[in-house]
């Protein structure tokens, strides 16, 4: 069972079709599947729906697919950093479904775990709750009822994910806060393609330190990542 592919294009071959639903990992520009997004741009696949916490910036991340008008709809929690996004959204060319960030993460994990719906307090009494099923549970002090809304699991056609290391069987490790949405996104894809900085021989990773087992991973590519920094904040040496 060979999971390693030579290029992003090869790894996506057969998995792309117009109108499909893609779940993408990453938070801001951190831990995004930049090589796979670039390959989707080159493939020209249209009318895409993305579940992704953010929409990239104009020339990086999902932003590059907005430039080429390949995106029909975004399911995101925050899309502020992208002028082309805002233009298309305000002109009605692009659909946007806002999800609270934790709801989006849990919807991905739920879909991947075979859970089509779950209840959360997040968004109760806000526009997010409009049209959603409400239900009381006795979770308050002394069993007092509290109101929750139902959110649905996300079941995507494809998950695209960025990890740090993979072994040849697809066991993955992430690095620092670049883990973020990558594991839940990987879980909710019918198939999952992963780009990594390094592919290591099977047996090189500590079985107790694997963040996402290879069962979730169908194809892997290794590549060079730009890993752009969105907000470079520093302190001066010598300062506390």
């Amino acid at each position: 069972m060979q999971k390693i592919y030579p290029t992003a294009a090869a790894a996506l071959d057969g998995f792309l079709h117009d109108g499909m639903f893609i779940a993408a990992g990453g938070f801001g520009l951190c831990g995004i599947p930049e090589l796979l997004l670039s390959a989707i741009k080159d493939a020209g696949t249209k009318d895409l729906t993305f579940a992704s916490n953010n929409a990239g910036v104009d020339d990086f991340g999902i932003g590059i697919l907005l430039q080429t008008r390949q995106v029909k709809k975004m399911i995101s929690s925050y899309v502020g950093e992208n002028a082309e996004f805002m233009r298309q959204y305000l002109s009605g060319e692009l659909e946007l479904e806002f999800n609270p960030q934790g709801t989006l993460a849990e919807r991905m994990r739920s879909g991947g775990c075979g859970i089509p719906g779950f209840y959360t307090k997040t968004g109760v009494g806000t526009v997010i709750a409009d049209g959603k099923e409400h239900k009381d549970f006795p979770t308050g002090p002394n069993g007092a009822p509290e109101t929750y809304i139902m959110e649905e699991g996300i079941f995507a056609d494809l998950a695209i994910v960025k990890a740090w290391k993979a072994d040849e069987t697809g066991n993955l490790m992430f690095r620092k806060t670049a883990r973020n949405f990558n594991p839940p996104a990987a879980m909710c894809g019918k198939v999952c393609v992963v780009e990594v900085e390094e592919i290591v021989p099977v047996g090189s990773l500590d079985p107790d330190a694997i963040h996402l087992p290879g069962i979730y991973v169908h194809r892997i590519i290794q590549g060079d990542h730009e890993k752009r920094i969105e907000q470079r904040t520093t302190r001066t040496r010598g300062a506390s």
Partner: protein
Amino acid sequence: MAARAAEELEDGWYVNLGIGIPTLVANYVGDKDITLQSENGMLGMGPFPFEGDEDPDLINAGKQTITEMDRTAYFDSATSFGMIRGGKIAAAILGAMEVDEKGDLANWMIPGKLVKGMGGAMDLVAGVGRVIVVMDHTNKHGDSKLLKKCTLPLTGKGVVDRIITNLGVLDVVEGGLKIVECADGVTEDELRAATEATIV
């Protein structure tokens, strides 16, 4: 305000700080053992890195480069919001556009203006143990931001526990807001005059 907000935090707490003034609270915790959560998947958030030490894989929820600490642990976004939704975070200190006397909070969108999204704000206010709002008491036109009823789309309903402003500290209680203290040089009358919400 940041210094006053820091007094709200108790030794051993795990805390989430919003963007803006709340971020400054970290500078005032002193000897207290406070662990900061960054909701993109980290507990034990450290200060900004020294120049040249920036790591693109290490950012906070505001997408700023940061550092880790001895106690740091990383996890994915589903786990991160699991601990938020599950009430494991003792307190969140957040900014606000409006708060009302029932504890409703509006801090994510202004109709007709560019909407960037709620990010993790709705999850935080719904989930954490204690929601502390830090904001100016009035807007730039001098109108109170502590209202009888929020006019902007809500981030959460009945979620605010305490409000810290430039004029004082107020708690959300049965029937309205209760003055906890006035800021230095502010009289209770001045604070009442600047507050639209019912003060009980």
